[in-house]
């Protein structure tokens, strides 16, 4: 094809229309990929909502689980999940941020540090059931915490720590070096620099990472089953050493029961779980937008 412009003398073969067509082709393929994902997801959610919405009545939140579907609720599971999230966050956040600060700001760049860094990254990929086994040995039996919500939360804290440390480091690394230098050049100590500049600017990123890590903890079942969280609890959770259950375990329990109504209860439980998850994600986005500093 000859170009519109006079200096085309045949030394180039632009094949413009072919190149443009290829571009459009890949644009369409990408669109198809997105659409497929969205369709599968909406079908799933739609199915669950249709199954479970009529069970989302006040008693569902205030009743303990029961042999009778109409008297069943997820009061204890919701309590367990909320306790667990709070305890996990309380334990994992300071340790995770502290470790991230140490690794980014203080640790010397030597073999040991790199070894630790690689292992933390690897830990983030370890199957969660391994953490369950660790929690069972270390907290339930070793520290004799029993099958308590505290032991569960500690296990969960271990599980999310690597994720938290990795995301915390990313956030701290994203703070421009120039800000650190500006502070140090004014005669600030390293801690003053971290406290006044690095942490405030890394905080949105750290919080986002934390919430995403916590969201993962809410959905986890395997480690809790391993340490022996109960499935059938008909009393309020009063302290960290009490026995507990959580939403995913309750849902799993309902799914395994033969009655059709329990399947629908499970669907309703999933709606609640998704609701909690989405709220946490929304919170992460809001926090990020609110605290974000534009450089």
């Amino acid at each position: 094809m000859n170009g519109l412009f006079a200096n085309e003398d045949g030394r180039f073969a632009p094949r413009l229309s072919l190149r443009l067509r290829f571009g459009r082709l890949f644009q369409l393929l990408s669109l198809a990929a997105v659409t497929l994902g969205l369709i599968v997801l909406s079908v799933l959610i739609l199915d669950i909502i249709l199954n479970g919405y009529k069970w989302l009545r006040p008693e569902f939140f205030t009743e303990f689980p029961s042999r009778f579907p109409e008297k069943s609720g997820l009061r204890s599971a919701l309590q367990g999940s909320l306790w667990m999230i709070s305890l996990t966050a309380l334990m994992a956040f300071p340790i995770g941020v502290g470790a991230a600060i140490y690794l980014e700001e203080y640790a010397p760049d030597n073999g040991l540090t790199r070894f630790i860094e690689i292992n933390i990254a690897n830990l983030a990929g370890v199957p969660s059931i391994i953490y369950g086994l660790l929690g069972l040995g270390l907290f339930v039996r070793g520290l004799e915490l029993g099958r308590s919500v505290l032991a569960g939360s500690m296990t969960m804290a271990l599980l999310v720590l690597p994720i938290l440390i990795v995301s915390g480091r990313e956030a701290i690394r994203a703070v421009p070096q120039s800000v650190r230098q500006a502070s140090l050049a004014l005669g600030a100590t390293q801690w003053q620099t971290i406290q006044n500049h690095v942490l405030p600017y890394a905080m949105p990123g750290i919080l986002t990472g934390t919430i995403l890590a916590i969201s993962r903890a809410i959905g986890e079942t395997a480690p809790l089953i391993t340490i022996g969280a109960l499935t059938y609890i008909r009393f309020d959770l009063k302290g960290p050493l009490d026995l507990f259950t959580v939403l995913p375990i309750q849902i799993f329990n309902w799914v395994s029961l033969p009655k059709a109504e329990f399947q629908q209860l499970a669907a309703a439980g999933i709606i609640v779980l998704l609701g909690v998850l989405f709220s946490l994600n929304a919170l992460a986005i809001v926090l990020r937008n609110k605290l974000q500093i534009r450089w």
Binding site: S178, Q181, A182, L184, L186
Partner: protein, 260 residues
């Protein structure tokens, strides 16, 4: 060389190594007080590294090792009993890219004073520093505004105000105008002439005309020998002499644009 001037900084046999790599080699020179000293030279000859020796910013590079002495009014700042944090309050620094904190204009200026335990009136200090940096009239009604909303030239003058708020004796400037347009550059250069009444200024610049315009003394840096990567000062003298009759052939070649 400086009969009229007191010596603010005196460098003696300074070497800087990064691990096995020697970055600066055997530099000795004296920086006169309340004068502007420019450091010029081709890229990669260690100008910024040299500048960072004066406020121990090289300490932040884990592998860096500084040997030799830098005497600040007689006190070796590399002495084991001197903490770099203390040095940096007395020898301030302005960086190449304006880097105000993402806080208000007021907070930017007050920060250094606050962390160093300033006991006087903070509002007065902020105003005085902003006036000294020729920025007060432009920002006096917007002190609560984010520093990031200022123009590049204003941001750089804010960084200067921030540096002088901790009342240093020396201000180091690492290519302070290289990210600015010509007018903002001239404003900074004018400001430097005002500042030199009270402060000793050491400026690294790529721009030879700038060095010629603003400085009283010029240090010419270059790799110490063919094939080496270690920079050193090959000629140091009054700026008019360096730019009209340099003694070293390499200085001549560099400033007349025949280097390389």
């Amino acid at each position: 060389m400086f009969d009229k001037h007191e010596i603010a900084l005196s460098v003696k046999n300074l070497n800087v190594d990064y691990g096995d790599f020697r970055a600066l080699e055997n530099i000795s020179l004296e920086i006169p007080a309340r004068q502007i000293t420019a450091i010029i030279g081709p890229s990669g000859c260690g100008k910024s590294t040299f500048l960072r020796c004066f406020n121990r910013m090289n300490d932040l590079v884990p592998t860096a090792r500084v040997t030799g002495e830098v005497l600040f009014y007689g006190q070796n700042i590399y002495d084991s009993k001197v903490n770099p944090v203390e040095v940096r309050r007395h020898i301030g620094m302005v960086f190449q890219k304006p880097n105000p904190f993402p806080k208000s204009i007021y907070e930017n200026v007050a920060y250094g004073a606050r962390i160093n335990g300033y006991k006087g009136n903070m509002d007065e200090l902020v105003e005085r520093s902003l006036r000294a940096a020729a920025l007060w009239d432009e920002v006096k009604d917007d002190l609560k505004k984010s520093a990031l909303a200022l123009s590049g030239g204003q941001q750089q003058r804010l960084c200067i105000a921030r540096a002088i708020a901790v009342e240093p004796q020396v201000i180091l400037m690492d290519e302070p105008a290289s990210a600015l347009d010509p007018i903002a550059t001239l404003k900074i250069e004018e400001l430097m002439q005002e500042l030199k009444k009270d402060y000793t200024i050491v400026i690294v610049t790529h721009n030879m005309q700038q060095a010629a315009r603003v400085s009283d003394y010029t240090a010419m840096m270059m790799l110490s020998k063919e094939g080496s990567r270690a920079g050193t000062v090959i000629e140091f003298g009054p700026t008019p002499q360096i730019f009209t009759s340099p003694r070293d052939r390499r200085t001549e070649d560099y400033i007349t644009g025949r280097f390389g």
